[in-house]
């Protein structure tokens, strides 16, 4: 297995800079997911690692060796593509064998390798079929098999699940994860789907506009997003953000929300001038899953009251959209409680679950790790 290191990597297409000098190092056997909206440069980064694109600046190292000008085949990596890239004109076995096209192995060994990969992916029975006769999941597995057959030092995945339906996608996530655990191969996985990132990654790299916003383990990103973008991007439904300003009330420092007269004192070091009510503007963040519908919240809790606008029943839980002033927030009704629209309700959150961001820079105020009660 290999390590991958990117140093000040830049990619330019004419006047446009797609990747703006990123640094990243992937440890041996690590599963790193690059995530971000489309156009954030994540695929370009992956393609530079693969050797499908030149880096305009910066260095790419695989196992410490600078590979910027090494052909893909010289990098000993494998890649799984969005469209599977399995060839309709040859059989499954030949598709898997394509990975060995340039290797100098004897024929028998190539066959053995194909068999072995097919067995590990449950494709043995399909080896003589043509891709047209396969289901989407099977095709994806063939694509993975083709990458596996060479025993590459790293796997690169370019949104490999985006062409699958939701159910299959969930299934393949687990399969890839399991495969990774079994092979322990260094993997870089690109997706725009935060669920994939959260469920599969050892570490997530959040990218936006060619820059890395944050790198961290899934829970770290969930709990301590460094900015508004990451906070909203990770976690579903999206974090509620309520505008307000730093203020002092009754001698205590806190945040005064624009809507309603709520004043909250999150356990966060509040920096900045909060004289009177005209302190710096901030955004108070709270995840829907932390904002619970409660009949009688305890006094320490952060509460919001409003009217129910829309109710999304999901079975296990119910999302409640509540209008508070001119804004709408999403909260959670626990168990089988289903409020009806128009009903006045109160949502409550543990102040420790609150996030606070500077409204101007969108950077987070440093936040202690949540203590488990």
């Amino acid at each position: 297995m290999a390590t991958i290191a990117l140093e000040k990597l830049v990619k330019r297409y004419g006047p446009a800079t797609i990747v703006q000098g990123i640094d990243l190092s992937v440890a041996e056997g690590e599963f790193v997911v690059l995530v971000g909206p489309s156009g954030c440069g994540k695929s370009t980064t992956l393609r530079m690692i693969a050797g499908l694109e030149d880096a305009s600046e910066g260095v790419i190292r695989i196992d410490g060796r600078v590979v910027n000008q090494v052909e893909p085949k010289g990098r000993n990596i494998a890649m799984v593509f969005q469209n599977y890239a399995i060839y309709p004109h040859v059989t499954v076995a030949e598709n898997i064998g394509f990975g060995l096209y340039t290797s100098k192995l004897p024929k028998a060994e190539k066959q053995a390798r194909i068999q072995e990969v097919a067995r590990s992916l449950g494709l043995e029975a399909l080896l003589d079929r043509r891709p047209a006769q396969l289901s989407g999941g099977q095709r994806q597995r063939v694509a993975i098999g083709r990458a596996m057959v060479r025993n590459p030092s790293a796997f690169l995945f370019d949104e490999p699940l985006s062409n699958l339906d939701a159910q299959l996608r969930g299934q393949m996530r687990i399969e890839i994860k399991r495969l990774h655990q079994k092979l322990g191969a260094t993997s870089v996985f690109v997706t725009h789907d935060q669920v994939e990132a959260m469920t599969m990654a050892d570490r997530i790299v959040v990218m936006r506009e060619g820059r890395i916003l944050q790198i961290g383990a899934p829970m770290e990103l969930y709990e301590r997003p460094v900015d508004v973008f990451t906070a909203r991007f990770i976690g579903s439904p999206t974090m509620n953000l309520l505008p307000g300003a730093l203020a002092s009330r009754d001698g205590a420092d806190g945040v005064a929300l624009e809507d309603g007269d709520a004043f909250v004192r999150p356990p966060i070091a509040l920096v900045g001038n909060r004289a009177g009510g005209g302190g710096p503007k901030v955004l108070l963040g709270v995840r829907p899953h932390d904002l619970l519908l409660k009949a009688a919240p305890d006094s320490a809790a952060f509460t919001l009251s409003g009217t129910v606008a829309v109710v999304e029943t999901l079975g296990t839980e119910t999302l409640v959209h509540v209008d508070i002033g001119r804004r709408s927030v999403v909260g959670l009704a626990p168990g089988r409680i289903v409020p009806s629209p128009g009903q006045r309700v109160t949502l409550a959150a543990d102040p420790a679950a609150l996030h606070l961001f500077d409204a101007a820079t969108e950077r987070a105020f440093p936040r202690p790790l949540l203590q488990q009660p």
Binding site: I77, A78, A85, Y87
Partner: protein
């Protein structure tokens, strides 16, 4: 027949008219074959089925030997042109569709612009070129102008653009070189387009007349159409012989069509829609 009887009367009328029209369309071809089976005394007997069919005309023509030679010439030239077009038009179409490089647009526009230059304009310079280099009266002389065509290149480019880059990049990662990627991966992915191109090129060269007429002088180097034309002039009104020659020139493409009908029709549709 149930399908027919259930149909509205308008449909039945339309079907009948279509059928009669279709018969009219093939009548000249049938007549050609019919006359080729008559001897000179029956030629003016206009029955479609000859009273005493005979293969004598075919025997006479084939014994003459020239037709066989012309047939082989045409076959050789059409096959050579087809192979060359599939190879080069495929290669250029692929390069223009899948590579980004300085000069790409220029090359593309240059090749495209040759579509506007009629071959009739080029036959004179081609003829001079052929005579300068001693290509008159040779296979090379007949075939060289058609080794690559802008139409084929354009057609192939259109098709290669629909091939996802993933296919090619996967191969690149697997360590195939660019030529192998094109030949082993990209080309098989556009087989329908290739067969359309092959059909058009073959038919075009099989039936080509004006250039082979100009460039070939000796009867041994004639293609079938040129040979047939001179043969017909020479036979003047031995219509049964002319019809036999015409039948020999037409038969191969018709037979191939009967075997590969669906395939050919699909190819023509593809080329027509993309071209």
């Amino acid at each position: 027949m149930t399908a027919l009887s259930k149909a509205r009367p308008g449909r039945v009328v339309a079907w009948t008219l279509l059928f009669l029209g279709g018969i009219v369309m093939v009548t000249p071809i049938l007549f050609m074959f019919s006359t080729s089976l008559k001897d000179s005394s029956q030629v003016f007997d206009l029955r479609l089925v000859p009273a005493e069919p005979t293969l004598d005309n075919y025997r006479t023509i084939l014994e003459d030997g020239r037709f066989l030679r012309w047939f082989l010439n045409s076959l050789f030239i059409a096959v050579l042109a087809t192979v060359s077009n599939v190879f080069f038009d495929g290669l250029v179409g692929y390069t223009l569709a899948k590579f980004r490089f300085p000069g790409r647009r220029l090359v593309f526009l240059a090749i495209l612009s040759t579509l506007m230059i009629p071959t009739e304009m080029l036959v004179i310079p081609w003829y001079l070129m052929a005579s300068r280099f001693g290509w008159l009266d040779s296979y090379w002389g007949i075939v060289f102008p058609g080794l690559m065509t802008a139409f084929g290149t354009f057609l192939m480019r259109q098709f290669f653009e629909t091939v996802p880059d993933d296919f090619l990049e996967a191969a690149r990662i697997d360590g195939l070189n660019e030529f192998t990627i094109w030949w082993k991966v990209a080309m098989p992915l556009v087989t329908p387009a290739l067969s359309a191109l092959a059909i058009f090129t073959f038919l075009g060269n099989w039936t080509a007349f004006i250039w082979p007429l100009i460039v070939s002088t000796r009867a041994e180097m004639f293609t079938l159409p040129v040979g047939l034309s001179s043969f017909s002039v020479e036979q003047s009104v031995a219509w049964e012989m002319i019809m036999t020659g015409a039948a020999i020139a037409t038969l191969p493409t018709l037979l191939v069509f009967l075997v590969l009908q669906r395939f050919i029709v699909r190819g023509v549709m593809l080329a027509g829609l993309k071209g």
